[in-house]
Structures are given as C-alpha cells and as structure tokens.
Symmetry: C2
Subunit: 232 residues, 2 copies
C-alpha cells in the first residue's frame, strides 16, 4: 500500500470539500469516539496503535491529531503524546456564553433568509410524536431532531464563516448536550423551547426568534449550573 489514496466522494453537508482522505476518515471516527465517551477525557491516544487499527501510516494519524488539537478535542504534549481534553466547569460556562450569541445569530440569519414554508418540515418533526419520545426518555430521537434543527438553520443562515465557527464548537456542544439531557425535566423543557423558536421563525419574527434561542441557551446554562455536581 503506497502512494496517494484519496477517494472521490461528496461530503454532502454543504461542503466545499469534495474529497475525503484517510486523514478525514480518521478525524471523523476519533471525533465520534471522543464525543461518545468511548474515549473518556484523559485517555491516551497512541499513534502506532491507531495506525495499525485503521491500516494507515503513522503520518496520517499524526495529521488527524493535528486537526483534533486545533479543534480543542485533544491535547498534545511534546514527546509525551496526545490525551483527550478534559472539559472543566469553567469551559462549559464559557461555551454557553458563546453558544448564546452564536446560535442566536444563526437563528436570526436563518429567519431573515428562509421563507415561512421552509420551517414546516422541522415543525412537523418537533410534533407530538417526538414529544412522546422525549417523555419516554428516547434520547437518540431527540438528539437527532436537535441535530437536524441545527443543520437546517445553518443551511438557511447561509454564512459559511458562522457555520465554520459553530462546527468548531460542535463536538463540545454535543458532549455537553448528551449529558445535560439526562437531567430529569431538561429534555422536555428544551423540546418546548424549540417548538416556540420554530413558531417565531415561521412567523418571520426575527427579533423574537433570536431572543428565544438565546433564552434557550441561558436556560440550559442554568440547568447545568444547578446540576454541575452530577454532570462533571
């Protein structure tokens, strides 16, 4: 096995990139493992080990580590190796502050740009069926719906830069959301908030939609602070 190894493939997600390399696949898989806590914070990542597992050279693993580090998912200490970044309470709070202004902007731009009908699909998704699933603690369904909401908004917002920044933070947001959802009552509250936001967006009420989204994050923040002892 030698030489170049880039398979043509569209990434699907509004991407400019049309090729996916070994490095990209590595990054994706390692991201997944870290966010899913299969590799909990503090875990060591050994280059050779991963190189063998994925049948790639150490250089690819090393490249992947580079972007993972840039994204703040791992920490690299010279000559010692890479460990999964530990998320402190402080950085969670910082993350909420950032999300408040950024996701608020996202919703504002999306509301400005999209026609009212654009939101019908999402409004349908956030319907009675999902409501029941949330009550029954079907977190995967809820998580998928939230991801869909996010992606639909980003597409409508139409700002590649905003999309990039949100994407940079996404891993950490996901890691936190997964935990926060476990707190009794939070999921159903978040669900209702999303319904309200969607109504405002369909109504084209730019200001209200942004404010509701910001309130949504602030609410999540206060839940987090209340239960931080359990969540960290």
């Amino acid at each position: 096995m030698s030489g170049n190894n880039i398979t043509k493939l569209s990434t699907g997600v509004s991407g400019v990139k049309t090729t996916v390399s070994d490095t990209d696949r590595l990054v994706a898989e390692l991201r997944r493992r870290i966010v899913n806590n299969q590799m909990p914070p503090g875990s060591r990542l050994r280059e050779y080990e991963l190189a063998e597992e994925f049948n790639v050279s150490r250089s690819r693993v090393r490249d992947a580590f580079g972007v993972l580090e840039e994204r703040g998912l791992i920490e690299r200490i010279p000559n010692k190796g890479a460990v999964v970044m530990r998320l402190e309470a402080d950085s969670f709070l910082e993350l909420f502050d950032l999300r408040e202004v950024l996701e608020g902007l996202m919703v504002r731009l999306a509301t400005e740009n999209a026609a009212p009908e654009y939101w019908d699909e999402l409004i349908d998704l956030f319907g009675p069926e999902l409501a029941q699933a949330v009550e029954k603690n079907d977190f995967n369904a809820y998580l998928a719906a939230i991801a869909k909401f996010r992606q639909t908004c980003i597409n409508a917002a139409g700002s590649t830069m905003l999309a990039g920044v949100l994407d940079d933070l996404y891993d950490r947001v996901l890691a936190m959301t997964r935990r926060l959802m476990l707190v009794p009552g939070r999921a159903s509250e978040g669900f209702r908030q999303h319904q309200e936001i969607l109504q405002a967006m369909k109504a084209g009420d730019v200001v209200l939609a942004e404010e509701l989204k910001r309130a949504n994050i602030r609410s999540a923040r206060s839940w987090f602070m209340k239960y931080s002892d359990f969540l960290l």
Copy 2:
C-alpha cells in the same frame, strides 16, 4: 540538523502552550505575510521553496499548511498545492456579522469582570495624542492601539474559548481593518467610537458597552458596503 527541535519559550499571550516549534514559527511568519498582503490572495505556496527558505524539512511546512488551512487562510487542493484564500465580499459581510456578536460578548464579559481602574491605561492611550495621529493618517499607531484594546478586553473577559474563536478570525479581521482604515473618515470615526466604548466600560455599564461595541461593528460594516468597490 536532525531529531527534535523544540525550544522552550513562553508565548506570552495568555497561552497554555509553553513551547514553540519550527511549525509554530512557520505558521506565524506565513500568517504575517498573508495578512500584510506580501502574499496576496491567489498566491501559490510551494512546499519545497518554503522548506529551503526556512531551513526546515517539507514535513514542517506541510504541518504549517495544515493549521493555516484550518484557520481558513489558505486553501489546499489535492496534488495541486496551497493558495492564499481569496476573500470575497460575501465573506466580509459574514465576518462583520460574527464580529458584532462576538466582540459584543467580549466587551460585555470584560466590563463585568474588570474594575473601573483597569481601563485607565486604555483610556489614556485613546487620548488626544492618538487622536492627532489618526488625523494625520498615522495608521500604524492606530492599528497598534486597536490591537491593544482587543487584547486588553480579551484578557479581562477571561474566556479562553472566546479568545480562541476571536483568534481564529483575527487574521481576516486584521486584513480587512487595514484596508477599511484607508477610507477617508473611517479611522477617526472608529477612534471616537472606541473612546465612547471605553467610557461605558469604565462606568461599568455592561449593556451600553456591549451595544456600543456592536454599533461600532455595524458602522464599520456600512462603511465597507459603501466603499466595497474600492476595497475588494
């Protein structure tokens, strides 16, 4: 020359990193050249060429390209090479939207955290002397003052995540600021706005400070739109 080559050195800027590698130095220098337009958009970056110039191996250059790409300063096309990213009008407008919420947040957090006296130094810096320099089109002095303002705020805000996001965008902000300053009248207006923001910050008026900073960016945005024909 072979083997590891990492010189111990503190980065100074509130950094967690305490070492600076060849790659880091490369990134810094290339950033500088790109932002200063010594490497205008569309320029091609050849790996071997740079490797020779900096007396490093191509791998280091390649690593540097990786972070430059992640930062959106260059674009890498497989088997073709790296070119300096071309900044389109759209992305400038996107950048203004982002700056409005992010720098607003920066000022808000900074105002919340810092004591009134903290701002005296900056208020002094943005005094009559600098005002005169701005009138005389001494752009370097103004640019340095703005950079100082930014850094002081980031330090006071105390959010490493926000600092990271702002840093990611900094190169593009700088590139744009340098051009926008050339527009007659913009620099002195921006100067006055910074004075007002600082007054609000010293007064501890969190809401007003944030709103003034946001207005500052919106104002810059409208100047840009008006003169975009000359600036692009």
